[in-house]
């Protein structure tokens, strides 16, 4: 049976995590991607180019201009009946919409899947990733969110799947979009970056993120992340938060600067390939997961590191 993937997109293009969800879906069967949006030809065309995609379903209507769960979930649930699995990336869009889909279908969602053992058996993290549960679902349709870092992204180009228009389920009339304040950045997206430089409470203020961390990130071509403490203190916006209840990242290189290494933070970065910690407290728990630890004052070490790095290619 085919697998339906709900795309996370901005109408013009796909969010990178959608390709991770497509890769996971391809392990289960032929992949159909639903692009629900408004003026979403760009995103639908992008989905059609992914070689793993057999068909794109496009629902282009005003109620889907923003991914409002009240409008999108009935559409997904209506289509889902023809599929064995319905997947989405565990982005804030997927996390918001998919449980609503699952409840409409009377099935128990499986969140944040890390591994697919069989068509009905999945591995997912619990307790901030301190334990991994293998669960088997008895539901007729499996509704699943995928942890992007666990599935290498599917190829984005080379395919040419047909695009089929599907009807819209209308406006539920329950919610409307008012405004957004999106962080603007020239940097790579946090969850897709090859290198991430994160700052914690040790940064002391937001100005220091600009003075110390950003030049380092620029030199590395890195995304900038943060601990919860740094976000709570207002040093950086909420979308920088890495951790159990923020974003999960697994870059080739993760630099934790002035971060103690609480389990909630580790939950979001401990699958990084190489971890570097800079912290003045040699007992900080972050050193227990760091491949390379540098003990000392970040305000001295970070500029030194930035200066010592080769210029960016």
């Amino acid at each position: 049976m085919s697998v339906l993937v709900l795309a996370d997109h901005d109408n013009a293009s796909l969010k990178p995590a959608t390709l991770n969800a497509i890769a996971a879906a391809a392990k289960l069967g032929p992949v159909h991607v639903l692009v629900a949006g408004h003026g979403c030809d760009g995103a639908a065309a992008a989905a059609a180019q992914a070689p793993d995609v057999a068909k794109v379903l496009k629902a282009d209507a005003a109620p889907y201009a923003h991914p409002l769960a009240e409008n999108v979930a009935p559409l997904v649930a209506g289509l889902a009946r023809g599929y064995g699995h319905v997947l989405a990336a565990a982005t804030t869009v997927g996390k918001n919409i998919m449980p609503r889909v699952a409840a409409l279908l009377d099935v128990q969602q499986i969140s944040d899947v890390l591994q697919i053992d069989a068509a009905d058996t999945f591995v997912r993290p619990i307790y901030a990733g301190n334990a991994l549960a293998t669960v088997r679902s008895g539901d007729a349709i499996k509704v699943i969110t995928i942890r992007g870092t666990a599935f290498p992204a599917a190829a984005a180009t080379g395919g040419s799947a047909p695009i089929e228009t599907v009807g819209d389920a209308g406006d539920a009339g329950l919610s409307s979009f008012l405004r957004s304040e999106l962080s603007k950045s020239e940097r790579p997206e946090l969850t897709a970056a090859r290198i991430v430089v994160s700052g914690g409470r040790g940064m002391a203020n937001g100005e220091n993120f600009k003075t110390y961390l950003e030049p380092l990130a620029d030199k590395l071509g890195a995304a900038v992340g943060a601990s919860r403490a740094a976000v709570d203190a207002g040093f950086v916006p909420n979308d920088y938060q890495v951790g159990q209840t923020g974003k999960v990242v697994a870059p080739d290189l993760y630099l934790a600067v002035g971060i103690s290494g609480a389990i909630q933070h580790l939950a979001g970065m401990k699958d990084s390939k190489v971890i570097v910690a800079i912290n003045k407290d040699e007992e900080a728990p972050i050193f227990q997961v760091a491949d390379f630890g540098l003990v000392g004052d970040l305000f001295k070490l970070v500029p030194e590191l930035t200066a010592a790095l080769p210029p960016r290619k």
Partner: protein, 249 residues
Amino acid sequence: MKILVGVKRVIDYNVKVRVKADGTGVETANVKMSMNPFDEIGVEEAVRLKEKGIATEIVAVSMGPAAAQETIRTALAMGADRGILVQTDAELQPLAVAKLFKALVAKESPQLVILGKQAIDDDCNQTGQMLAALLGWAQGTFASKVAPADGRLEVTREVDGGLETLSIALPAVVTTDLRLNEPRYASLPNIMKAKKKPIETLTPDALGVDPAPRLVTLKVAEPAKRLAGVKVKDVAELVDKLKNEAKVI
């Protein structure tokens, strides 16, 4: 407006959770239990809405074993008016919890249900969205700001790209994110007062809900451990290691 808030009893966030040797779950014997931190934020938000004269009554709801009474008492000490315990020793998965809440909504007719965006034990992040679906209500998830306006709610949500503000119809389900507020500590007099507040005990059966789990846990295992790394003496050594050993720069 009457508010229902969900308060789940979970292993305290400071506890280093251990997987049981037989792989059936995690060690819960003699482990400190607390209210799910996102639910504390939910209770705090409800109490603030009451202090502003917007909420009229706050009912704190927990589902689980008899010991979840303590979690309800904590909510009562923070300012909730009364409690409901849906008592069961069976495993409850989010769909079942949402169905039980739906039954309580039919009984209590609240205008707003506030739940945490996720519980820090199963990390599911589902119940609020499921409840909204079952009720046909609007949902304001991952909320960092909630403001009543013209008989609706303006909910500012933490999303991947930053913040987004929606206007949602009431009645509604709101789920809390970390930045919604900073929960208060209950004062000693309020802890004493909470002892006298009523807690009603119900069962899934009495609410007409079959809470049987849909997912069977086959195994719980520890994740692969990272090998301990090394401390480097200075920046030059770090750069050398990253370049020549790890080859990541």
